[in-house]
């Protein structure tokens, strides 16, 4: 592998002081190859949801970076994640998307692996291997660290990575909104069947930075706003709850995560929403009251899109969903999309949301169709020799963020940019790329866990 860029070179590619990022990091094949080593084998990655492997023997084939992995619940009920590659000659041991199985048998030479990844069957074990092969050493490669956080299954290949909650830090507040029930009940969500998977001809970082908080691209969605698909019949979304709210961009640059949100006024009360359907409207109204009761001040947060570094993005409000941007070469991204609903919601609510999710999201979604067009042609128009000489501009709102945000008694962690008047800012993107640079340059997690030394870099 040709390594064109020494670690020190990355500071020139991501110029934090001037708010600029080189196009090379999106289009250069050598940098892409380095990302696979330095980011995707070290970061925590989203693998799937526990409701996808509810019963013993259930499996869901997922992806960590470029590589296929199997998420599986073993016969004892324990969840595992292992590399989908036979230890003998590398064949994919499972080429199904999901299902239930007592065993994974490699179709090439017949090695078979139990649902916990252990090698249990080797053809000609007695005659050809003379019973000398130590099967315990040839289990499928298991991830050294895995966590089930409120139903979301995450894993990392780096045994020295910090624990997941340390990796997430103060961003936990926003991840909780995604996975908790709408009434605030812990982990009260489940996946609707059917994971969207499709290819986008763009580098994986384009969608990741779009979801981390690009409020600036409203013009992209002008057409859907004109025709209206929202749950109250107009626009893209239901905005009645935003009355009087502040618009805040929240970044955790030392970790790379970020989100945008609206913060309701201190004494705000739940307001009716989803008024196309009385059952749905009543459900959300009751949930809002229950959540306000549970969460107090935190209830004021109306969470928007966000990204957990590097490639897991989400929408905690409707269309409530998770997107993972799997890298497939510098110029291709395979998008996987999971959709969440409250497990205990009435069938009418689940059905209402299912229909809204479909018409909003993914390749057929009236909103997101236009996003793919942007990522496609922004990427392809950045590949040329001339284009590469010129950095992208990320200067919006530089120098206006605070690290001690407080409003009506609610203090927020992270670096907060108030975009109520500005309407947009790019501090979240700057935070994402400064973390990207650290990942590309750092030797190990001792260097990457900057917050342990109080060295979190602001931007």
């Amino acid at each position: 592998m040709a390594i064109t860029f020494q670690p020190s070179a990355y500071s020139g590619l991501v110029d934090q002081d001037n708010g600029m990022v080189s196009r090379e990091i999106f289009v250069n094949a050598d940098i892409y190859a380095e990302e696979q080593e330095r980011i995707f084998t070290r970061a925590w990655l989203f693998v799937g949801h526990e409701s996808q492997v509810a019963k013993p023997g259930d499996f869901f084939v997922s992806s960590m970076g470029e590589e296929s992995v199997i998420l599986c619940r073993d016969r004892q009920g324990e969840i595992h994640v292992f590399l989908n590659s036979c230890m003998h000659r590398g064949m994919k041991v499972c080429r199904y998307d999901e299902g239930n199985t007592p065993i994974f048998t490699c179709p090439y030479h017949g090695w078979s692996f139990a649902t916990d990844g252990a090698l249990v069957g080797v053809p000609f074990y007695k005659d050809a291997y003379h019973e000398e092969l130590d099967k315990s050493q040839w289990s499928l490669i298991r991830v050294p660290k895995m966590v089930n956080y409120k139903g979301g299954i995450w894993a990392t290949w780096d045994p020295n990575a910090p624990d997941f909650l340390d990796y997430i830090g103060g961003f936990k507040t926003y991840l909780d909104i995604l996975f908790d029930g709408w009434d605030g009940s812990e982990g009260g969500t489940e996946i609707i069947g059917g994971i969207e998977k499709w290819m986008v001809p763009s580098n994986w970082k384009f969608p990741a930075e779009n979801f981390i908080g690009d409020r600036y691209h409203n013009i992209s969605h002008r057409s859907v706003d004109l025709v209206g698909i929202g749950p109250s019949g107009q626009g893209r979304r239901d905005n009645s709850e935003r009355e009087g709210a502040k618009s805040l961009d929240v970044s955790f640059p030392e970790r790379g995560h970020g989100t945008v949100m609206f913060l309701r006024p201190e004494h705000a009360q739940p307001v009716p929403s989803y008024q196309n359907d009385p059952i749905v409207a009543d459900y959300f109204y009751q949930c809002e009251i229950a959540r306000k009761e549970r969460q107090g001040q935190l209830w004021r947060i109306l969470a928007g899109p966000g990204t957990i570094f590097p490639n897991m993005s989400f929408l905690p409000r409707q269309p409530r969903s998770i997107a993972v941007w799997h890298p497939r070469g510098p110029d291709q991204t395979e998008v996987w999309r999971w959709f969440l609903v409250d497990r205990s919601a009435p069938p009418e609510v689940k059905e209402f949301l299912r229909q809204y999710y479909i018409r909003y999201s993914g390749p057929a979604g009236l909103t997101e169709q236009d996003d793919m067009e942007n990522w496609n042609y922004a990427h392809s128009a950045s590949r040329g020799a001339m284009a590469r000489r010129h950095h992208y501009n990320y200067q919006m709102g530089m120098g206006y963020a605070v690290t001690d945000f407080e409003d009506g008694g609610l203090k927020l962690d992270g670096t907060v940019l108030d975009t109520t008047k500005a309407r947009a800012g790019e501090q979240n993107q700057r935070g994402f790329y400064s973390r990207w640079r650290e990942f590309m340059a750092a030797r190990d997690w001792d260097e990457l866990a900057t917050w342990r030394n109080g060295n979190g870099s602001a931007c």
Partner: protein, 181 residues
């Protein structure tokens, strides 16, 4: 294939239905989207499932379920009309400039007729399609699959009451689905 006790009526019906399908394809390819909407009944169901790799013997789980799972499309006329209106805004960037599209419809078979071929009010048919989409400069998608339609006789001719589209892809290779099947 329906066992027809009136082969001539069946032949004429097939000719009639095929002419309708080609007319419909032409409306889409000629970008006459509003005229195309007029060919759909008010209660039309339009369903395009996603498709999984599943074990032999579990093929009933191959497709995501209509009305229950996430599907590429699972909707009626209201949403389809909004899709047309979105293209007609002129600022739907995924279709601006408009794509060049050809629908090739083939392997047409009538699989059910009500009440009979000679005075058919409703026809169930199966066909194959190739959709070729080319847009901007070199961007090209080719989507191939099976379609199952229910046509109902309305004022002025056939109307589409149900369309089910089974794509021959697992990971969708097109970046978006801004067109109709």
């Amino acid at each position: 294939m329906v066992v027809a006790n009136d082969p001539l009526a069946m032949l004429l019906l097939k000719q009639d239905v095929e002419a309708f399908l080609y007319h419909e394809a032409n409306l889409l390819d000629d970008r006459r989207y509003e005229d195309w909407l007029d060919l759909l009944t008010d209660d039309v169901r339009y369903w395009v499932p996603m498709r999984r790799n599943v074990k032999f013997g579990e093929l009933e789980r191959e497709f995501t379920r209509e009305g229950q799972d996430i599907n590429w499309f699972d909707e009626g006329k209201d949403t389809l009309t909004r899709r047309v209106n979105q293209i007609l805004t002129g600022v739907h960037w995924a279709e601006e400039p408009l794509s060049r599209i050809s629908h090739l419809v083939t392997n047409v078979e009538i699989v059910g007729v009500t009440p009979s071929a000679s005075d058919a009010e409703e026809v169930a048919l199966r066909c194959r399609f190739i959709i070729y989409r080319n847009r901007v400069a070199t961007e090209t998608d080719i989507l191939v699959g099976r379609r199952e339609d229910t046509l109902r006789r309305g004022d002025g001719g056939w109307r589409i009451a149900q369309r089910q589209v089974f794509l021959d892809q697992n990971v969708l290779l097109a970046k978006n689905l801004t067109f109709f099947f």
